[in-house]
Amino acid sequence: MIKHDVVIVGSGLAGMRAALELCKDHDVAILSKVYPSRSHSGAAQGGIAAALGNSGDDSWQEHMFDTVKGGDYLGDQDAIEEYCKAAPRVIYELEHMGCIFSRTPEGKIAQRSFGGHSKPRACFAADRTGHSILHALHEQLLKNSKSIKIYSEWYMHSLISDGSRCAGVVVSDVRTGAMETMHAKAVIFCTGGYGRVFKITSNAFASTADGVIAAFNAGVPLEDPEFVQYHPSGLWRQGILFSEAARGEGGTLLNGDGKRFMETYAPTRMELAPRDIVSRAEQSEINEGRGIDGKDFVHLDLTHLGEAKIMERLPQIRQLGIDFIGVDCVKDLLPIQPTAHYSMGGIPTDINGQVILNHGDGKATPMEGYFAAGECACVSVHGANRLGTNSLLEAVVFGERAGRAALEYLKTAGFAPINESQEKTKVLNQVEEIYQSDGSESYNEVRTEMKETMTSLCGVYRNEENLKECISAVKDLQSRFKKGKVTDKGKLFNTELYEIMELGNMLKMAEIIATSALQRKESRGGHSRTDFPKRDDDNFLHHSLVYKNGEELEIKKRPVTITKYKPVERTY
């Protein structure tokens, strides 16, 4: 058995930031199924929000209002307030650590416009902001390597808990296949999003819902899983992202008739309306036959920006176009379509990253010793739709807060007892089941069908009929999954086995997303029902909480915290 004061699962921005908070006082383990600097945070291109006011006046209040409105009034305003206030400080701290940012002529951190933000608020490092922050934090991890033990290419299987207090995790070393229990006083989950559930997605292969499902299996509900963000500029058929920065720098969207169709949908903000609105506009154009040549894509036009600006501000995006479809955006139009991008929902936490089991009678019951931050968590600052550049900020702000909360908890907490062999056996049995299955089905087909089902029946537009069909299709896939065929039964670096376990998690997540989408009979932010096209504050101004009830899902509600801004209609 391995023992550490605190185990952090996930080493993206949230996990690394949390580790730095704890490493001065405690023995910290940080575990990641990919090498830490290969975490998906590194793919973030466009920027990180903070009201620095380096490109004209700005304030945390405006940032807060934009975030509340962008989230269609489902975000918890107490959390949003703290978060927007903290933003400038955490950005300066990153800069002091050595993080690279593009600069204004005076040498300040440069800022640019982003969808849904009323001011140029996105701090950026060309078009590789996430990469820049991830590597800066990774550098700090290496600097503190004496007190932070990195478990690189280790996989977390399950959370150990008695239902009210968390005691550790069951993990395995991908390289050797060795299964271990990690005993810890506190556990922090920073396992990222789950976009891989969908066919067209901007997410990495590693974004597979392991963390949220481990929490769910341990009795933690999942909050607002129906809210998935579709980003308007995914590369056609691949889903690879062309950052919103492309539109922030002046890129326009054209339909099959060559028209800037955003005029019809968001006349004031045009291409810089929030993502849910732009994605729906694209999908409507496509559905109504106005895609390019009637196909399922529209054009992103950057040609008028000129090569110099593109090379200064969007070099990586240009390269992506050239490498992946042979289109040079300096001269030609990029074919794009909506792509599943971000998971607004996740493990419910309070404002300090403390995981909350339920909210009976307005009182929150925590799972002791268990914290979560970043995309896997739902605080909720994004509500029904996240604004671009708000997610890197969330990972840094709440990574830090979760780290601090764990620090506080560790002042008094000890190790909770665990039954090592029992916990390990549970996971080993799971592996054994996979090895013993009759092999009559192909995991690849199950995975492909799940992704297609989710994209076509639970995508940008949803309705009752499709969602019901989606749920039954996913359940059918869950039973086919039990009969999948394995080729590699070895212990050494068995990526096939890990992919199968990830698929198992995603199949559960798919069911949770669709089920929660079915019960929300309204349209709000990223969740858009053609059969209930309006927002319905009377019946649905609340968070959804999906619990595991045997094999069934049970859905409860939690009220939204509203402090400063009363819900009004959301127009741009």
Binding site: S37, L142, R237
Partner: protein
């Protein structure tokens, strides 16, 4: 149907490595990574490689395609086909293989660690950001794009014969701090980087520039460190002296003209460019007496290795 010929290795099953061929129908738009996935998911689930972002940013999927390191996700498979419609895929070089296309990056990361890859600045930070002009940012813009994929490390010729060499990725990372206007340790850094195993052991073959999928392009970063080192007066060290005498002796003995084969195959052709690259400092140094190391033409790889050994002492 095209053929993807993959070097397989699984010590759990068999001691040696071997090539296995898979037939794949490469549709337009298929990257090499897509092709590997198709094989893994439809033909042989035991095929093992790393991947995550599939958009050339995480640095997981480095492999050798037709003998050269590349990111599998960044290359259209079609463009890699040889005249027989075959793509040969092998694990990255200069690292031990764990299984199939998965290599052990341990030494790679240890070397990154050696260059103290974090900002050093003991001053109390200002309330807001430290100022840095766009021009100062430009000096570290390129090096900061490195994704630690190991492509350069895999194909670096020096590492093949001398595993003490820090190698291109660690040196590119070092430049990220040497060039950073906010870092206070520049002199210390260039001193350490001028020790044996550092910047002066690079033979300027330019291979890493060919292989690097990003603007990081280590060789240019190494040159930048050399320039800073010489500007700071850091040339009275074995590394710089060895490298310079080596350069000079090759120039003097005319090896570049007479014996192009081994020279070119080891990529030394760029050495004479060294003078133009770091003009002031080098010309200054070359005025001093430097004993030639190479006395006879080297026509074997072994000779080259011997020279490296000599340089090491």
């Amino acid at each position: 149907m095209s053929v993807i010929k993959i070097k397989r290795f699984n010590p759990e099953k068999r001691k040696d490595s071997y090539f296995q061929e898979f037939n794949v129908d490469l549709k337009p738009g298929t990257t090499l990574l897509d092709a590997l996935n198709e094989i893994k998911w439809e033909q042989d689930g035991s095929l093992t490689y790393r991947m995550s972002c599939r958009s050339a940013i995480c640095g997981s999927c480095g492999v050798k395609a037709n003998g050269h390191a590349t990111l599998a996700c960044q290359k259209q498979a079609e463009n890699l086909l040889d005249k027989n419609d075959v793509i040969t895929v092998e694990p990255l070089g200069n690292m031990p293989v764990i299984k199939d296309l998965v290599t052990d990056f341990k030494q790679f990361w240890e070397k990154v660690d050696q260059v103290k890859p974090f900002l050093k600045n003991e001053q109390a930070p200002p309330e807001k950001e430290r100022n840095q002009s766009p021009e100062q940012f430009k000096l570290i813009d390129d090096s900061s794009t490195c994704i630690m994929c190991g492509a350069c490390y895999s194909d670096c010729n020096v590492l093949e014969v001398d595993d003490k060499f820090l190698g291109p990725a660690a040196l590119a990372k070092a430049q990220r701090f040497v060039g950073d206007s906010r870092d206070e340790d520049t002199l210390e850094r260039v001193k350490e980087l001028s020790e044996p195993g550092g910047i002066w052991d690079c033979t300027h073959c330019g291979e890493c520039v060919e292989r690097c999928p990003k603007p990081a392009q280590p060789f240019y970063r190494i040159k930048e460190i050399m320039t800073v080192a010489l500007e700071k007066g850091v040339h009275n060290n074995n590394g710089a002296r060895h490298a310079l005498s080596f350069t000079k002796s090759i120039k003097n003995s005319g090896l570049l003209n007479e014996n192009t084969l081994p020279v070119e195959s080891m990529g030394f052709t760029n050495i004479k460019g060294l003078l133009e690259l770091v003009p002031v400092g080098l010309r200054m140094l070359l005025k001093g007496k430097v004993p030639p190391i190479i006395h006879k033409p080297c026509d074997e790889l072994n000779d080259v290795k011997r020279i490296f050994k000599e340089l090491d002492q």
